[in-house]
């Protein structure tokens, strides 16, 4: 699946997007966050406080409990500050 990152999540991860191939035990958004956080320094910093991370699956907001269930694109970003 494709992962995209925005704002300080993008800056800490060090890239705007990438292809991910998580193991089959990673079934929810929250699982994916935990899996990413263990990938190295930038990821650890980006995902150090999972509660501050918002996610979207195929461009629709998704809770951490949401199943990845074949989504083509997952996005991680801080709380929105537009408007």
């Amino acid at each position: 699946m494709k992962a995209v990152y925005f704002a300080w999540v993008r800056e800490r991860v060090g890239k705007a997007e990438e292809e991910l191939e998580p193991p089959s035990t990673v079934t929810t958004v929250g699982d994916l966050i935990a899996w990413l956080a263990a990938r190295g320094d930038g990821y650890a910093h980006a995902f150090e406080k999972p509660s501050t991370i918002r996610a979207a699956l195929d461009k629709v907001h998704a809770r951490h409990e949401a199943a990845l269930a074949g989504a083509a694109e997952v996005a991680f970003f801080p709380p929105m500050t537009g408007g």
């Binding site: 995209v4 925005f6 704002a7 300080w8 979207a56 461009k59 629709v60 907001h61 996005a75 970003f77 801080p78 709380p79 929105m80 500050t81 537009g82 408007g83």
Partner: protein, 153 residues
């Protein structure tokens, strides 16, 4: 059918407002909201707005549809800019046309509250004093403003 735009260039809120009412005899009320970039008492030099292409437009359309499902609206327009925005410049506008003013006011305010907390835009502040630039933090009061529509709905 709402008009939704995400764009780098400035917009003409007045033209958007006039467009919703022009030639219509059933519009009784048009409420327009324009959000401007403040200079925070001189501390802010520029805002830089990042957004999630595709999702931003989709989310703004979902917010518009939610407003249209709650109130009898005749026209809805929402425009959000991205990129560098200087103090005094326009950032966002929402325009709602309806037969009656109560519906137009409620819809415009709900749309702004929801856009703030749901539309995937992020502001980075570049400081006038050369201090480190930083991502603007989300405000709890914006969550509260959005939440009251759930309670009311």
């Amino acid at each position: 059918m709402a008009t939704i735009r995400v764009q780098r260039e400035d917009f003409d809120a007045a033209a958007e407002s006039t467009a919703l009412a022009r030639g219509r005899m059933d519009v009784g009320a048009v409420v327009s909201f324009v959000g401007y970039c403040r200079d925070e008492g001189g501390r802010l030099a520029t805002l830089e707005l990042e957004y999630y292409p595709g999702m931003a437009e989709a989310e703004m359309a979902r917010v518009a549809r939610e407003a249209e499902s709650r109130w009898r609206l005749i026209g809805v327009t929402a425009i959000h800019r991205f990129g560098k925005i200087a103090p005094g410049e326009q950032i966002v506008c929402v325009v709602v046309a309806a037969a009656h003013r109560g519906e137009a006011f409620a819809a415009a305010e709900m749309m702004m509250d929801f856009l703030k907390t749901r539309a995937p835009f992020w502001k980075r502040a570049i400081r006038a004093d050369g201090a480190a630039e930083g991502w603007v933090e989300a405000k709890g009061e914006d969550d509260s403003a959005a939440a009251r529509w759930d309670a009311a709905g």
